[in-house]
């Protein structure tokens, strides 16, 4: 069995060696197709990072009434912390709010002096949310519940920009999936066509192997291997091209290259598209042993 498998692999390598030129041209075509996808992924990744950072900051600020004691405010914070979707709560006393104001806006610190010692900023509770709850619907729902609680004066959250942000993230994720699918299908067709041509070119070898007693998989493995190799090597080649382009543009456009997980995804997409293409090509190309 080991010898049979090793012979099948050698058969595949022989196929590639015999038509190295056309194999390299196919590889280049696949790499260029993948490069478009890689660039799209880089743009999506960088845009997605910006959007996700924005989404990270999504939270609710609950302003409390002045007459609420600190103990009552802390109790309220405890109740809110037990609510679904709330990751953490932080109570900001009037003194801490003033310190933050002075630190963040030093040029307007005089304003507080002008308003006199009897003025103080309202106490508040800052709510941070679980990642799944950073959508406009969920934040809105939680904000409505909290606003109806005793001692709550006002609520602030990004209700103006949050729906747009959520939608943008959703659209971007859908676009990445759609582009991946389109690329997978087109790549499968390129590989399928290559394999179909390879099968036609090697019709005599396929026929002779079948006649001398080769099992079906022995005949198919070289073509499957060729498709897999085309897909993976094409994807790897595209990543190399894209690294070069990314490096050339790094001084003029600030961006990050794809993370390791996405690189793996590109390689897996290449392998699966290559395998699918081989399967389609063999299905339509290899004659049935009995006709």
């Amino acid at each position: 069995m080991i010898h049979l498998l090793s012979n099948a692999i050698q058969e595949g390598l022989l196929n590639i060696r015999v038509k190295l030129g056309s194999f390299l041209i196919t590889l280049l075509m696949v790499s260029l197709s993948f490069m478009v996808f890689d660039i799209f992924l880089i743009i999506s990744w960088n845009l997605g990072t910006v959007l996700k950072n924005e989404q990270e900051n999504v939270g609710i600020e609950v302003f409390l009434s002045d007459n609420l004691t600190e103990v009552e405010a802390v109790n309220l914070a405890d109740i809110i912390s037990g609510m679904e979707g709330v990751r953490a709560v932080y109570y900001v006393s009037p003194q801490e709010a003033e310190a933050v104001f002075r630190a963040d806006l030093p040029e307007q610190a005089d304003l507080l002096t002008l308003l006199g010692p009897q003025f103080h900023l309202p106490p508040s509770i800052q709510i941070s949310l679980h990642p799944d709850y950073r959508t406009s619907e969920k934040v809105g729902g939680l904000a409505r519940t909290v606003s109806g609680m005793d001692g709550v004066e006002d609520i602030v959250y990004g209700k103006e920009y949050l729906p747009g942000l959520t939608k943008a993230v959703d659209i971007l994720e859908s676009l990445v999936i759609l582009a991946g699918l389109v690329l997978a299908v087109s790549l499968s067709l390129i590989v399928a066509n290559t394999v179909r041509l390879a099968v036609a070119r090697r019709a005599l070898a396929v026929q002779i192997m079948s006649i001398v007693g080769a099992p079906g998989w022995f005949v198919k493995i070289p073509f499957l291997g060729e498709g897999l190799l085309t897909g993976v090597a094409g994807a790897a080649g595209s990543l190399l091209f894209t690294v070069a382009v990314s490096w050339m543009l790094s001084s003029s456009i600030h961006h990050e290259f794809l993370p390791g997980k996405w690189i793996m995804l590109v390689l897996i997409l290449g392998a699966s598209s290559g395998a699918a293409g081989s399967w389609i090509g063999m299905k339509s190309g290899i004659p049935k042993p009995r006709s």
């Binding site: 069995m1 080991i2 010898h3 049979l4 012979n7 058969e11 022989l14 015999v18 005599l204 070898a205 026929q207 002779i208 192997m209 079948s210 006649i211 001398v212 007693g213 080769a214 099992p215 079906g216 022995f218 042993p289 009995r290 006709s291």
Partner: protein, 227 residues
């Protein structure tokens, strides 16, 4: 019995390529099937290696029946057969050695055993000096001897030779026929399809005649005179 045809008919769009064929081939036998072009010789051969199946009736070859054989059994049946074609069908991108080694490679034989068997067979067939050559570098007679070596490399029980001398001049044809007779003497059954049965000496083989898909009694067949 190595090969049995039981009432085998094969129709292509109602046209009978073979009709009511009853035939038995014994171990070690030399059978010559002759007849004009289109008589059904190649179809008969295709039924033996089960590249084609009967429309009615059944073929049994080396224990495999055409009406029961599974697709996964076909390679095992074909490893018991050696097949030689008129147009040699050698793989052009492979050397003589690799062409002859192919049936052993697809059966999973170890590289060492392949080398031993192929070298000894090439020596026997006086082709050792050509082992590194490619098919296009060989003469027609050499190519057919390589094709016969490929067919014999895995010790088949039957050697099917479909018009093996069709592309060769008379002198080389005789060398090939002599080689087949020699192989038969070593115990391998041979079924030879030829349009010219006079190539094989009368005492060596059993003769069958096919005409438009029917087996004809050789004594009653007048086609011999037309050859």
């Amino acid at each position: 019995m190595l090969v049995t045809f039981g009432n085998v008919s094969r129709y292509y769009n109602d046209w009978p390529a073979l009709e009511n064929i009853n035939l038995q081939v014994h171990q070690g036998e030399f059978l010559v099937v002759s007849g004009p072009s289109g008589a059904g010789k190649t179809t008969l051969f295709r039924h033996i290696w089960m590249g084609d199946l009967p429309s009615t009736g059944a073929v049994e070859v080396a224990g495999y029946r055409s009406d029961r054989i599974r697709k996964s059994d076909l390679p095992f049946l074909r490893r018991k057969l050696g097949i030689v074609f008129q147009d040699f069908r050698l793989l052009p991108e492979r050397t003589v050695f690799d062409n002859v080694a192919l049936p052993l490679q697809v059966a999973g034989t170890s590289p060492k055993a392949i080398r031993r068997r192929v070298f000894s067979l090439l020596a026997e067939m006086e082709l050792n000096h050509r082992r590194g050559s490619y098919p296009h570098e060989l003469s027609g007679g050499e190519q057919q001897r390589v094709a016969i070596a490929r067919a014999m490399v895995s010790h088949p029980v039957i050697l099917l030779a479909d018009e093996p001398t069709g592309n060769l001049d008379p002198e080389v044809s005789q060398i090939v026929i002599d080689l087949l007779i020699e192989i038969n003497r070593s115990g391998t059954a041979i079924i030879l399809a030829t349009h010219d049965p006079r190539q094989v000496p009368a005492g060596v083989a059993r003769f069958l005649y096919l005409d438009r898909g029917h087996l004809v009694n050789p004594n009653l067949w007048d086609g011999y005179r037309q050859l």
